[in-house]
Symmetry: C2
Subunit: 419 residues, 2 copies
């Protein structure tokens, strides 16, 4: 039986797969530093026996695209890698997409170990990127490796993509799409805790400039505190978040406390303890529903911020200025009735013995670009620990990496049709 063969192959290759993940975590692939990690991926693809396409995304071309978003426009030395498994023909094609970039490790004091040790403790492999998302990438590589090693032929083509720039807005996946990579469907093994996410939230970064009027702190009543005004702005945005989320009725979001959050992540203002602050900036991330466009969400925020003057006449004199900047992730969705979802659910049940949880993704992924720009319906499903992504002491459970590999291998066979 196919599943048993795949399962046993994975068991035999458990140590090798774990070491591959460890090597990948040890290769600190923050933005601009992806070379070593991609070299390890390339070697793995060659070992599997795939044809490998390697290129440096062209910033000049990318910046012209309306969906381009990144904090940089040059990608020298930052390679995109695609491994191609050609089918025998007439089958459905599949993209397996994972990003190689990781967010910075942040405050080292909050890490119990070196964030790039790849240390294994009690079945967990620790390190920045273990969960988001090198663990998922290794699941993909293991799935392909098993299918090739076991000599299981496929009709449809499979494209394994190791892309840069997901964490800063998806320029790597956009570059792959512009290079011509499309397929009948895609799977992205972002850390979903093995849940199936047919919908992915989009998001955009914003900055709000709040003005005050300076005064000496001893006569603070003669000034207008931009800090106090910025508190009003924060509360006003909370109200917008409430309203936007009340509109979400999709049952996929029923267990999520705030389906499309608006996060205020940074606040900075004032320049002297004993002066009234005349300026505060707020920076945040607006979640965008899979059922709306980025443009609709922008317009709603813009008109909401303009309403501040109804709450406080100060904003008539000094309107809060809203600016969109930095990263942006397009929302994505695949039809719940899509055949790939049924096949993934079946494979999950075969391997795990119970039904998977199907929810909407609380964050954006490159699935938005694959769907909207690449016309490739995408499911997000992966082994990583959602709540450890972007956190200190990030880890992944090694068992899950292999379970996901088995589920994905079976799904590939089912989707791309075993001959």
């Amino acid at each position: 039986m196919l599943q048993t063969r795949i399962n046993q192959w994975l068991k035999r290759n458990r140590e090798e797969g774990t070491m591959l993940l460890q090597k990948l975590v040890q290769a600190r692939s923050t933005q601009g530093n992806e070379q070593l990690a991609q070299t390890i991926v390339i070697e793995a693809l060659r070992d599997i026996g795939l044809k490998v396409d390697i290129w440096e995304p062209d910033g000049n071309e990318l910046v012209k695209h309306p969906y381009f978003s990144s904090s940089r426009t040059k990608f020298n030395g930052s390679l995109n890698v695609v491994g191609i498994l050609k089918g025998t023909g007439e089958g459905r094609s599949l993209i397996l997409n994972g990003h190689i970039d990781v967010v910075p490790e942040g405050d080292l004091e909050q890490w119990e170990h070196d964030p790039y040790s790849g240390e294994v403790i009690d079945g967990k492999l620790f390190g920045r990127g273990a969960t988001d998302m090198k663990g998922g990438n290794v699941s993909l590589l293991l799935a392909l490796s098993a299918l090739r090693a076991l000599g299981i032929p496929l009709k449809g083509d499979v494209f394994f993509q190791s892309v840069i720039e997901e964490e800063s807005g998806g320029a790597g996946t956009l570059a792959a799409i512009l290079r011509g990579y499309k397929a009948d469907a895609a799977i992205i093994p972002e850390p979903t805790n093995m849940k199936i996410f047919p919908k992915q939230q989009g998001s955009m970064w914003f900055r709000i400039h709040v003005k005050g009027r300076s005064a000496h702190g001893g006569t603070r009543y003669e000034g207008v505190s931009a800090i106090e005004k910025s508190l009003l702005v924060v509360e006003h945005i909370r109200e917008l978040e409430k309203r936007r989320n009340e509109r979400i009725t999709d049952p996929l979001y029923s267990k999520i406390p705030i389906p499309i959050p608006i996060n205020i992540g940074k606040i900075n203002g004032g320049d002297w303890p004993s002066s009234v602050a005349d300026y505060v900036s707020l920076e945040g991330r607006m979640g965008v529903s899979p059922d709306e466009s980025l443009e609709e969400a922008k317009r709603e925020m813009e008109s909401w911020i303009a309403k501040l003057k109804e709450l406080d006449s100060w904003f008539e004199q000094q309107p809060a200025i809203l600016e969109w900047f930095g990263a942006r992730w397009v929302p994505g969705a695949i039809e719940l009735e899509h055949e790939l979802i049924g096949k993934l659910i079946n494979s999950y049940q075969d391997v795990i013995g119970e039904s998977p949880i199907i929810e909407a993704s609380p964050w954006g992924t490159d699935g938005g670009l694959l769907t909207k720009v690449g016309a490739t319906p995408t499911i997000v499903f992966g082994p990583g620990v959602t709540e450890k992504a972007h956190f200190p002491n990030e880890y992944i459970e090694i068992n899950k990496v292999f379970e996901a590999a088995e589920i994905i291998a079976l799904t590939i066979v089912d989707w791309c049709e075993n001959e």
Copy 2:
């Protein structure tokens, strides 16, 4: 008649006095950059014919003093200047104290002209420091200049002090006291709008560290926003300010909206738009009543901040940490019956033709140190525009500089006794 002679001398020297103020404003004397401005003062004192004492305050000595407060401990190149007018003996001595340091100009966009132009428009001289307090310093220099030029002898000694570091806590005046400068009374021409301030508010800087718990912005409900918690802290401090001010019954404060404000001047926190902020710092200035000690005020704030946990259990896990740092101004008061106040009121009436307003100062001055450490009772009275201190488009009315000079000259003669 003495007053007429002084008045006429000031009229004759109006252009020269205005140019001196202009030169002083043009010399940008922010902390650490006082050299040029002090050089101009030294030249002016030499022109008047005073003995000049110039020295670099000794950081090693100052830091040992319990009343030392500054953001720096080295004063290389930052000179204190004292001009000494020796009396003929047996008269009461007087310190005339003004600071040469100015606060930074802040956001240039809010200035209509170059903040260091010293431009004169419609009788107003514009620029950072014009009001706080180079205008007052020029009033002092003009008063002394007139008395010397008119050959009016005095029994008591007069010490003109041009000190550094007032804006950061008074290390310049403390250094002058430690060098031995004391007197029977003092006048500081800070910008009081020509009001007489017998009491000066003290103040202290504080920093509050507010902790949160990080999370991805898309699942912000899994974290705890230090930004939202810091809003609670700001509101909590507003309540403390209210309570403290309700206790102030001194009639000198009756027209002041908030006699001893607590200003939150800086806020900084979070490091990524799409992460929940795990830390925010607030910096501010706590006003201290002339009727309480710095220590009493500190204790009240400390126990108030500790109450945050009663409002929100988060603060039980992660208490907001209060830290005292940076600048500190000792509150000061002179008896309302003090003879110098009577003499100043008389001089004011002689020059202006009406009674002065007597109020409490909304901010700390070096008068606290002069009184508490130097045992020199101090009045704050000067020509500057209170509400323009530390503001963009700071200016001073040139007329007031000369009126204050005339009032102070008459007061000097009266206090130090004309022979």
